[in-house]
Symmetry: C2
Subunit: 363 residues, 2 copies
DNA sequence: CTGAAAGCGCTTACAG
DNA sequence: CTGAAAGCGCTTACAG
């Protein structure tokens, strides 16, 4: 007992004892924390269990120590294997996009011995989604971290999670998060640019863009990439050639259709994602326009869909599986208390030319 | 202590005390089991931890009691919420099919407070996939049950899981499992039949079928549904009009293409799944055949893909989300020790007519 | 608000 | 093989 008191004291203001000694680093116990903080085990127990009868000052000190020593309550500790669990939250309906991200996260999970619990962000939007309760549930369930796909979390949720000490990584965030949120994306700007560049190289000049939500960070980047490419070629983009609504098939069909009905109709359209592009293809087909002879179309993502269209879709490939893998490794790193090289990482996009793009008609 | 001994004894040969008394049913502890078995807590602890130094007879008695009282070791017990966790294993690459199943399972999980851990069956096929170790891992990780999607588990895995007491439900099993495996599917025979019926009703007589693995139960049912519909109309199916290879786009393209190159080419093709159907559409397009004017094509599944093709695909809808929901509820029921009405359930398929089917040419 | 003390559920080294 | 005993990590009712 005296022994543990002493070692506790030594450690109080330095990093936890990890490094030295046996590989088997004993788990931090309440006793260690109590000794470091100079309070009783009972008090530490109360802090851990969120009891009210603890002085604010005491609580703060103990909480800090719990964090520093990475205390894990036994209810959260797993059996023998003690496998780590990360929660992966998908926003919106599950589809071709999310399935690839899930696959990447699950793959990386298998490699690192991490269990991936998949959930829907929308479900949580229901009753029990108040920030604090949400964070508490995740902690209570022993999640080592959380990955959110394409979601728009409120600041409240982000801070609740941070306070609870649960690391968060967002994939392709809809709202461009600040430095306090770690995120993984792809080079959307470069992607938008190279799709457009590809069409310019084919000889197109009347190039339109149909994209997702105007507020979405990744869509903005793609749109501006499109604009930059046009400007580089000395072409000013016409407002009627640009639509930003949603990442959906129907948007491609309607907005794309509108543009194809224009007197000066575009000879090529950059789709903000694969589903939009496919909607555009359908709009063209309905109007008796052939792809790629009359109109060229590009997608963005390279989901399962893009090889199955007629003709197969030329796309900007987003490495969705790899993004999932990087996201998992990042939460794991954060959970281990390691610093990340950067709070935001972008993986490279890549142009994949298939059958939906060709030189413009009458060239 | 005497108290707990006594109540333990009372319970020994009857069902656990669940029913009576407070809603809050105290967890079974080693002490209860020890009292029931008439051995010490230490001995029970050894059995739970798989120590070797316990007589076989003693071990058997204690194990039986542990099972009867549904003892859950604290390392497995979750915090407050004590949320149940079910493992969902996907075989093969994640795609439009699995994403809908996952969504259904996750939805039902959210409703029942169950966490869904998603994994790949193929990963587990690697090193550590020996039946016993596999089952032990799942038990150790505290999984209440396992759902396998479209996988072909070996008998060894099924029995290892059964011995470990972890319930298993298979969705759309590739190998038709016996009564010892619970499974969820859809009315594939009826589906194959109504797709074919639909084409017959439109006036087609030269109808082909391109499907998945010959050994796959669901494919067999679909194929035989196709045959039954033809026979009902007094048409004998020609062997060159039938191909069973795999549920893949390329199969549709190649096998479908082969049939479309036939001197007496079919005027309609039933696809064994959506991706096959889309492959067939592409094969037609490449040959300058229009859909549905020259060839009609049907899909099977009603995945995200089917509304996005040009023209949109007429399909047999499989209620994949609902199948996922039913699977989850079934494992949960099994985990609770309740009996299922049937070890195999099939949900209804449904014909959804879209744009890829029409009367045959020259009619 | 704090902590000594009693207690719980579990494990393990060791005597028999 | 078995279990009494010591011990661990945690919680909680209660005295101060």
């Amino acid at each position: 007992m005296a022994e543990s008191h002493r070692s506790g004291r030594n450690v109080a203001l330095t990093a936890p004892e990890r490094s030295a000694g046996s590989r088997h680093t004993r788990r931090t116990t309440l006793a260690t924390i109590a000794a470091s903080a100079g309070v009783s085990v009972a008090t530490v127990s109360k802090v851990v269990n969120g009891r009210a009868d603890v002085a604010a000052g005491t609580r703060a000190v103990v909480e800090e120590l719990l964090r520093r020593h990475e205390y894990v309550p036994p209810s959260v500790r797993r059996a023998a294997g003690a496998s780590t669990t990360v929660e992966l939250l998908i926003s919106g309906p599950f589809g071709v996009y999310s399935t690839q991200v899930i696959e990447g996260v699950v793959q990386a999970g298998a490699e690192t011995g991490t269990s991936i619990v998949v959930g829907s962000l929308d479900d949580h939007r229901q009753p029990g989604f108040a920030p604090q309760g949400w964070a508490r549930r995740l902690v209570g369930a022993g999640r080592a971290g959380v990955i959110v796909v394409t979601g728009a979390l409120t600041g409240g949720h982000v801070t609740a999670l941070a306070l609870a000490g649960v690391p968060l990584v967002v994939i392709d965030p809809l709202n461009m998060p600040g430095a306090e949120v770690t995120s993984v994306g792809s080079t959307n700007f470069a992607g938008g640019m190279s799709a457009t560049r590809h069409l310019l190289d084919l000889g197109h000049e009347r190039i339109a863009y149909v994209g997702g939500p105007p507020s979405s960070g990744c869509n903005q980047a793609r749109l501006h990439g499109y604009r930059a490419a046009l400007e580089n070629s000395g072409i000013t983009s016409r407002p009627e050639y640009v639509a930003n609504e949603d990442f959906a098939y129907d948007v491609g069909r309607r907005a794309g259709g509108r543009m194809l009905d224009l007197a000066a109709r575009p000879t090529a359209i950059v789709g903000g994602c694969d589903t939009i592009a496919i909607g555009i293809m359908e709009a063209a087909r309905v109007r008796g326009l052939r792809i790629p002879e009359d109109v060229s179309v590009t997608g963005f993502d390279d989901t399962e869909l893009s090889t199955m269209t007629s003709p197969p879709l030329s796309v900007i490939r987003q490495p969705l599986r790899e993004m999932g893998r990087v996201a998992l490794k990042s939460v794991l790193q954060l959970a281990a208390g390691d610093a990340l090289d950067s709070h935001h990482v972008e993986l490279a996009t890549e142009l994949v030319v298939r059958g939906s793009t060709a030189p413009p008609p009458d060239l």
